[in-house]
């Protein structure tokens, strides 16, 4: 006799039976006819691409059947459809070989974000108030087509395109769309777009692209402020290489030295961490080169054209003695000599400069110095740690920051803006530009702004018409990774799932527009959909590779793209640039703000969770504890404990960070890994409007940056601002760890 019988015997009262009646009839939503048939509970894997940074990792999306609440011609109901549950690296893809970074893993939340724009919106209230009213696609597209025709009739120069740097099919489509309309070239903008390093590589090695650091063949890595294991260049490829660099080769463990003003997530892994005064990394590179050229008797010609670019290189860099460099950088001369000796002793060694090092007014000179140093060490080339991924198409870009400022000047130059119609796609310049650039003011002046964004962020909130794009898992994607692999790669991915909301892919909208506008646009863009455009590109590739088009396309769809299978041999050797004899003279970095009034160097850095703010709207990343400070859901200012003591500031106090261009407030975190005269802050928070998880949360360091730039490329020197710190009360920190500095159990061997 168990519990059930026991209770049955004693509980057969009328009351219980009476209650039986008041159950509730099951009322449910109607259920739509599913389009695809799914085996319930069994997962399928479909290739896709991660859209979150320039590395362009290949992704495998795990798709399982589930019930989604969708709206179909006016009725809401449940639709049994394939839903992406998780993203994992595509094991076959040469860039990330089955791995992903933290942001890549969190990208799946973009698809199901509660604040995603579900159908086209038309601005109703004042611009920037964020009041929109839903409108259907036909009306939206017809108004846009009408505007476009009107602009084309008046003056095609009135059309402007602003987006993040595009690659592959999208770039071809957009550039051909604008070219046929005789409109100005597209303006690309990205905060951390490393155009300085591309230009330096063009000057040093004739290749205007980011280098591929294959750490697995390196024996010694000297990092100069480059966060190459966190967010810089192709972090996943570099992290895979780092794993082998350390423990992948039995008996051979590489040494890694990091030189930077603040211990970054990458610097934390260094065997030796050396502080340096911000902006002087180039001087250190030249000092090392000096030691190699003079004391180690390395011939100046060994560096080839990379060396010739540096003024004084052929004479052996006489004025860059370790003592002179020590005075500039703050690193003892003897240590510089030792580093130089180690560079030679641990062949092949590689020097990686990036991030804040190149975000100075002398960024180009620094990059050239490092390129020359690498060339001198002989580590640049098909077999060395520094390689260049062969690019099927030209990768040259007009320097983004300069073209954006030119566009803004153009708009603000005349009282009535010459730009009549602005198309915005996946770019948030209002958030990611210094106030002095006045991008918001310029956008206000443009009569009609159209945004293709899936979310209302700081920039798309100013739009008049929002045509929500499919999210990356719902659309056809292709990409040509610039770095991170040896073989040439053209990634390709079909949509992993059907669109969840009433959205359309941006390329398809452009093609639809070109049909509505008709005329020569129609002939220039013959494809009916973006899939056709990609198919055409891949057919061309198949012809070049001499393979059957259909099989080639099918295999590319299955594998997640095309890459030349013959592995590393094909890595392109550096071409020798035209022998222009222009030389660059290394100048000390120019900082904005006087030392007396603004005693601290301000160092915004790309954090693992937010990179440049584009992923701040994902709850997983907001709640991801920053690895060094364990802070979540907000922003903070890192300060040296001794400096804090001197200023009477305690952990968690609110401080005013003031520069010549603005001020912000954020709580302080004391960190023993930052120089006394440097103040650091993560980029990514402080959005005025960016979905429920990121709106009005934390402070935006870019809002206090000075508009200094690297003269030759016009790139923003975002690490060249000086600030003043003043205590402003008690702030609120959300820390995951109550932790202490010391680890109680010595694990070190």
């Amino acid at each position: 006799m168990d519990r059930r019988d026991f209770i049955k015997l004693s509980a057969l009262t009328a009351g219980a039976a009476g209650l039986a009646g008041c159950g509730h009839p099951d009322h449910q939503l109607i259920r739509f006819l599913p389009e695809e048939s799914w085996i319930p509970g069994v997962a399928t894997w479909r290739p896709s691409l991660c859209p979150l940074c320039a590395a362009g990792c290949g992704v495998m999306a795990r798709v399982m059947e589930g019930d989604a609440e969708v709206v179909r011609n006016g009725r809401t109901g449940l639709l049994r459809m394939g839903l992406v549950k998780k993203l994992e690296g595509n094991p076959a893809h040469p860039v990330n070989r089955g791995k992903l970074c933290a942001r890549g893993q969190a990208a799946v939340q973009i698809v199901y974000h509660p604040d995603r724009i579900r159908q086209p919106l038309k601005r109703r209230g004042e611009r920037g108030t964020g009041e929109f009213e839903p409108v259907d696609w036909d009306e939206a597209l017809s108004t846009l087509a009408a505007r476009l025709k009107q602009v084309l009739d008046d003056d095609p120069a009135g059309l402007a395109w602003l987006s993040r740097p595009l690659r592959g099919g999208k770039r071809v489509l957009v550039e051909r769309f604008l070219a046929t309309l005789a409109a100005p070239a597209p303006v690309y903008f990205e905060l951390f777009d490393e155009s300085v390093l591309r230009w330096a590589n063009r000057l040093s090695f004739g290749r205007e692209q980011m280098p591929t650091y294959t750490l697995s063949v390196a024996n010694y890595v000297l990092g100069l402020s480059a966060d190459f294991l966190g967010t810089w260049n192709s972090p996943v490829a570099q992290a895979i290489g780092y794993g082998e660099f350390r423990q992948g080769r039995p008996g051979r463990r590489g040494k890694f030295v990091q030189v930077e003003p603040r211990v970054s997530q990458t610097g934390a892994n260094a065997d030796e961490w050396i502080p340096i005064r911000p902006g002087t990394e180039g001087a250190l590179a030249l000092g090392l080169a000096h030691v190699l050229l003079n004391e180690a008797r390395r011939p100046t010609t060994a560096a080839g054209t990379a060396g010739e670019r540096i003024e004084g290189w052929l004479q052996g860099l006489p004025e860059w003695t370790p003592e002179a460099v020590a005075e500039q950088t703050g690193i003892e001369a003897e240590r510089i000599r030792r580093l130089a000796r180690e560079l030679i002793a641990h062949e092949p060694a590689v020097v990686i400069a990036g991030g804040a090092a190149l975000a100075q007014t002398n960024g180009l000179a620094t990059a050239l110095a490092v390129n020359a140093l690498n060339a001198l060490l002989g580590c640049v080339g098909a077999l060395g740690p520094v390689r260049f991924t062969p690019q099927p198409e030209s990768t040259g870009l007009a320097p983004p920051h300069r073209t954006l400022r030119a566009l803004v000047q153009k708009i603000l130059s005349r009282p009535e803006s010459p730009v009549k119609l602005l198309l915005l796609y996946e770019a948030n310049p209002v958030f990611a530009t210094p106030p002095a650039w006045q991008v918001a003011a310029a956008l206000d002046r443009v009569p009609f702004v159209v945004s293709f964004g899936s979310f209302l962020d700081d920039t798309s909130i100013l739009a008049d018409l929002v045509l929500p794009d499919h999210v990356f898992l719902e659309s056809w994607m292709d990409d040509v990774p610039e770095s991170g692999t040896e073989p040439a790669v053209v990634s390709l991915a079909a949509p992993a799932m059907r669109p969840l909301h009433n959205t359309r892919a941006m390329p398809d909208v452009l093609l639809d527009l070109s049909r509505r506008v008709g005329g020569r646009l129609n002939e220039a863009l013959p494809w009916k959909s973006y899939e056709e455009l990609l198919r055409a590109r891949f057919d061309a590739l198949a012809r070049r590779a001499g393979a059957d088009a259909d099989a080639f396309w099918k295999q590319a769809l299955e594998r997640g793209g095309w890459w030349s299978d013959n592995g590393g041999t094909r890595a392109a050797a550096p071409r020798h640039a035209a022998a222009t004899t222009r030389q660059i003279r290394y100048q000390p970095a120019e900082m904005d703000g006087s030392v007396e009034e603004f005693p601290f160097h301000f160092l915004p850095y790309a954090s693992q969770a937010f990179y440049d703010g584009t992923t701040a709207h994902l709850p997983w990343l907001q709640e991801l504890p920053d690895v060094l400070t364990t802070a979540m859901w907000g922003s903070w200012v890192e300060l040296n404990p001794q400096t804090a003591e001197r200023l009477g500031i305690r952990q968690g106090d609110l401080v005013d960070v003031t520069s010549r261009h603005g001020t912000l407030q954020a709580p302080v975190i004391l960190s023993t890994g930052i120089a006394p005269d440097v103040v650091a802050m993560p980029v990514g928070q402080g959005h005025r409007a960016f979905t429920r998880y990121a709106s009005r949360r934390g402070a935006n360091p870019i809002s206090v940056l000075a508009p200094l730039e690297e003269p030759e490329t016009g790139a923003l020197a975002w690490a060249a601002t000086r600030v003043q710190i003043r205590r402003a009360g008690v702030g609120r920190l959300v820390l995951f760890s109550g932790g202490l500095s010391r680890f109680p159990h010595p694990e070190e061997r």
Binding site: G739, L740, H745
Partner: protein
């Protein structure tokens, strides 16, 4: 002063037979506060235990402090009355029932906390080993299951230990009262007549129960300490915890007893029955326990400090000089520095001073339980996951409500039953009472006659 039997009856039964309006007012007021506790608990069940202040890594807070505190309070009652009965101390007669009542009510309140602190209290029945078609049983290796058995045994034991001597008193009221009281007490008296056979059986039963209840009481608070000692948390995992908790329990129980007796003496005008030597005797016991408590805490902290294990030292420093230091020193003051002088100097040992010492000890012992649980959980082995704890209004309301609940139960008990056992008091006044002690005749001969009651 000679007290005729009927005058004694009148004095002791007056609270039972007549009820003044102030009693109703007091019941409603205290009942309201107690009800607030239930409202707070309902709010917590409805919204999730997150409304309480506990978080990671301090998963136990006020609730388990209250649990240990109230189970501690319950120990003095039965323990003291049992020991005094076995020792046949004449002055125990007015004290035993007050003490046993504290035990039962404190246990009832304490036993509620294992339910209140649960994340899903509606599944608490899984703690009970009932046969079910799943074939699942509770895990008897868990100290929480030992708690379940120990507290239930102790509750049942001390309830019966309280009930048995009340039977003659119920019969007394049954014989005197009229109307509904006569029927109710008639029912409660279980047909007690008062034949010598019944008296002898009752005394033998009380004697055996006294012998049994002491080890049960000691085991209950040892098991409550095993809840902490069994887990490898720094400054929890130590062998001293069982005796330390039992000493602490008797210590706080004694204090509660003194407070209760002082209140009864004041409110029910039992000055002749609860006289100063009762308070001084209990005061001496309190002094002994204060010294014993200090000995235990010194022994534990010396061992930790001398051993210098990094994890344990983190907790040690947190209480000695860290964020919990003020509470720690308040506890030492309340448990040792306040009671010892008050109770050692005879001149100072008046009823008022004993009550003040007892109040200090009750507060001190609540803090002691808090300082055992929270700092140790906040500073475990990996410094990365250290945390803090701050109670919310829910926990505070429930804590206050438990004190109100205790007072309410005690007032209702004093209304239902004569707080001083009438027949024991009368036996105490028999001139020849002491020759033939209640212990079985064999022992009686060996016991030398004591001073009269």
């Amino acid at each position: 002063m000679e007290k005729t039997a009927s005058r004694i009856n009148d004095d002791l039964l007056r609270p039972v037979l007549e009820t003044s309006p102030r009693f109703y007012l007091a019941v409603v007021l205290v009942g309201l506060v107690a009800a607030l506790g239930f409202v707070a608990w309902g709010y917590q069940i409805w919204n999730g235990i997150g409304v309480a202040g506990i978080s990671r890594p301090v998963f136990w807070g006020f609730y388990i402090t209250n649990f240990v505190f109230w189970i501690g309070i319950s120990h003095a009652g039965t323990l003291i009355s049992a020991i005094l009965r076995l020792a046949n101390a004449g002055w125990r007669r007015p004290v035993t029932r007050c003490a046993e009542a504290i035990t039962v009510f404190a246990l009832m309140i304490g036993a509620m906390f294992p339910l209140i602190h649960l994340g899903r209290p509606w599944l608490a029945f899984w703690l009970f080993p009932y046969p079910n078609e799943r074939g699942l049983w509770p895990n008897f290796r868990s100290p929480l299951l030992w708690d379940f058995f120990a507290i239930n045994t102790y509750l049942l034991g001390s309830f019966l230990f309280l009930l048995l001597p009340m039977l003659p008193d119920f019969a007394l009221v049954r014989d005197r009262a009229r109307g509904w009281r006569q029927r109710v007490y008639g029912w409660l008296a279980l047909g007690w007549e008062g034949t010598p056979r019944q008296w002898h059986r009752l005394e033998t039963a009380m004697h055996i129960m006294a012998v049994l209840i002491i080890p049960v009481a000691v085991s209950v608070h040892s098991i409550v300490s095993f809840d902490f000692a069994m887990s490898p948390v720094p400054m929890w995992h130590s062998t001293i915890f069982a005796p330390y908790f039992v000493a602490g329990a008797i210590f706080s129980g004694l204090a509660a007893l003194i407070l209760a007796m002082a209140l009864l003496r004041k409110l029910l005008h039992l000055e002749e029955y609860l006289r100063t030597e009762h308070f001084s005797n209990l005061g001496k016991l309190l002094l002994v326990m204060s010294l014993l408590w200090f000995y235990f805490i010194f022994a534990e902290r010396l061992t930790v400090w001398y051993g210098n294990d990094p994890a344990e030292m983190a907790v040690f420093r947190a209480t000695q000089s860290g964020p919990y230091a003020p509470l720690f020193w308040v506890m030492v003051f309340c448990n040792f520095l306040l009671p010892v002088p008050l109770l050692t100097i005879p001149r100072l040992r008046t009823i008022a001073s004993t009550v003040v010492a007892a109040l200090g000890v009750v507060v001190g012992m609540w803090l002691e339980r808090f300082l055992i649980i929270v700092p140790a959980l906040a500073h475990k082995f990996l410094p990365y996951s250290w945390g803090t704890y701050a109670p919310t209004w829910v926990e505070i309301t429930i804590t206050v409500a438990t004190f109100a609940g205790m007072v309410l139960l005690y007032m209702l008990f004093a209304k239902l039953v004569p707080v001083i056992s009438v027949w024991e008091w009368k036996v105490g006044r028999h001139p020849l009472a002491e020759q033939r002690a209640e212990i079985s005749p064999a022992v009686a001969k060996t016991v030398a006659p004591e001073g009269s009651a």
